[in-house]
């Protein structure tokens, strides 16, 4: 069993309207000093068996093509057991 976690975030230079809205709401609801909020998404992928080199490469490719939009998003991929 292997567990792979892919975190997808908008690239830093890309406007994040949702993050901005959350930032505004945090301020209105009493949290002071919020300078920035960025919102992303997380994929938790469980795999049967070992994460061999081939599957790892496939995952890396799909994380860039399917799970994230390479034009506006970056992703990080971490493996945990």
């Amino acid at each position: 069993m292997a567990r792979v976690v892919v975190n997808v975030m908008l690239k830093p230079e890309i406007l994040d309207p949702q993050g901005r809205a959350v930032q505004g709401a945090l301020g209105r609801l009493g949290l002071t000093g919020v300078t920035d909020v960025r919102q992303g998404k997380q994929f938790v992928i469980d795999l049967d068996g070992e994460l061999d080199a081939h599957r790892s490469a496939t995952l890396d490719k799909l994380a860039g093509e399917l799970l994230s939009n390479p034009v506006i998003e970056d992703f990080t991929l971490t493996v945990s057991d």
């Binding site: 230079e13 890309i14 309207p17 034009v71």
Partner: protein
Amino acid sequence: MPSAQPDLEQPFAELGLKPDEYERIKEILGRRPTSSELAMYSVMWSEHCSYKSSKVHLRQFGEKAPKTDALLVGIGENAGVVDIGQGWAVTFKVESHNHPSYVEPYQGAATGVGGIVRDIISMGARPLAIMDPLRFGAANAPDTHRVLPGVIAGVGGYGNCLGLPNIGGELVFDESYAGNPLVNALCVGSMRHEDIHLASAKGVGNLVVLYGARTGGDGIGGVSVLASETFDADGPAKRPSVQVGDPFMEKLLIEATLEVLHAGLVEGIQDLGGAGISCATSELASNGEGGMHVWLDRVPLRDASLSPEEILMSESQERMCAIVTPGHIDAFMEICAKWDVEAVVIGEVTDTGKLVVQWHGEEIVNVPPRTVAHEGPVYERPYHRPSWQDALQANEPTASVIPRPESGEQLKETLLQLIGSPNLASKTWVTSQYDRYVLGNTVLAQPEDTGMIRIDEETGLGVAIATDCNARFTKLDPYNGAKLALAESYRNVSVSGAIPLAVTNCLNFGSPEDPEVMWQFAEATRGLADGCLELGVPVTGGNVSFYNQTGETAILPTPVVGVLGVIDDVERRTPMAWNKDSDGELIYVLGDTSDEFGGSEWAHIHGHLGGMPPKVDLQREKLLSEILVAASRDGMITAAHDISDGGFAIAIAEMAMRAGTGARLWIPDNIEPFIFLYAESTGRAVVVIPRSEELRFTEMCAARGLPAERVGVVDSGLGVDSGFPGEQVIVMGDYFTLTLEQLRETHEATLPAIFNS
């Protein structure tokens, strides 16, 4: 004065400037430009902003403009303004966002909508509705599958969040758009006459206010790099940071802008689109007193690491620039604060004739603004008739080239094939993603011929808008193809009962550096200008998009033409289809039908493009329009539908499906059934007439010299006799019978089958 390192090579070529353009900048300034000046000139002198290749041809729209009292503001402003009576004016414009939509379909399309909406509000008008003429590669191509869903979602997402109805447009598939989709967006807005505003910076000492979203790294170089260079065949290699739209911010911007305008707090106003602050400051200064002083470090930033060059070029969305007198500034700021819109004074109007930009005390720009905004390079690009044009025109789709259906069964199959082909199939899959009725003023929307909205709830005054272009016609004959696009759009407005008043256009072409593409452009603009003069409808503005090609292959020349018409009372509009009470009403075809299949949908589904497009007769179009408007006004007709793509058979099928009631039709004796059913001769419409009005209507047509032929009758009771008990059917003489169910299944299955997988 900024001193640079004189030996350092300046990256003018990377910024899209040609060596002679760079030399000219040095000549204007009498020195090397600073890097900020270079950034400014490069974006403002790009094809997209300067119209350097198209200007010499676009002049015709002004020179050949018909005399009219309807135009309150002409070409050159953010959008033209048309008088529609009762103290109301409307403004409308269509623009392209083709290249950004290919790179990032959702955001590209969304920010296309956002941009055109800001053009409308900067004239002082309240935006009322959106339309989107779209073109993609072959429907089943993988690239179309990647781009189309994002574009549709982007158009829908942005417009729906703003609360603006999307009332129509076009969706056309053709291989030539593979890798270069066309995403055009049209917006229409209304205002009272006294509320018109112009983009100029008047009054020395007045303040320059930047308000709206903060400035980030969006689309830096987008204008010059994205819109003015062709994509390489191997995909989007250049990826500057994509502009991301925030429709909720835009909504606040609309409300804040209209409030400050109505309160009389604004001397001049300009939206920030392509070329961002460079464009807004230089155009405002150039149109006003001639000078402006800007403190660039006051611009609120989303990303503190941006350099001044980047701030000048940034295309961050949802920003506006206003000129406000010192006495009004507090009131202006108060209104912005109320709407939660950030506003900052970034500069001051001067009469020095110079646009001066300071960055933390250092002068980084000192240029005459006219040279940036209006006196950019103008090219008389060479053009010539393509060598292949004659061969293309000679290749008519005659019966020996494509076998023509003759038997009833073959004619029926042809109808099913056409009505299920991607270009003619039901567009519900797309339009159901758009809100068509929000605001409660939508009178007609897709699949009607035209979008119609009510402007005045008291009197029922409204406007109708249609956009059209059969680019295959334009490829076969650019001059007449452009006239045909105008004619179709004009006709689509007329069938609804509205009187056509004004024209906007979005001219999408390949590379202007290719003399054959340039010829297409020259011919199409000449055709459109001549056509507008003949029909008496002025061009109020528009947009040119060049470099629409992948590798060496240019798109079909696509001059999308939008026509706006006015209707005194939307209650008396003519819908496209008959209704449930129409049993026994008569179906007439107006106009002449002949053997014209060059560039038709029928030829297209057989993979053929050649021959001559249908003949265009604008005097006939005018007559047809007058008859349709008169018939609508006097209540003589129940329905009217334009005959164009796919011919008469498609028009009838669309009407019957929309009505849900069948009809019995007969084919006139003097014409080959195939030609009658599928030819795309122009200047034609189908009308449905109550029996009590038949004489009055036909006498009017006879007196005016418009051919009108009775070809059928609405009949809900044909099912039993034709072997389909309980069903609504179309009986086409002795040739074939089709149930509406069969038609619907074929018509509605196509797009979901392709794009839901």
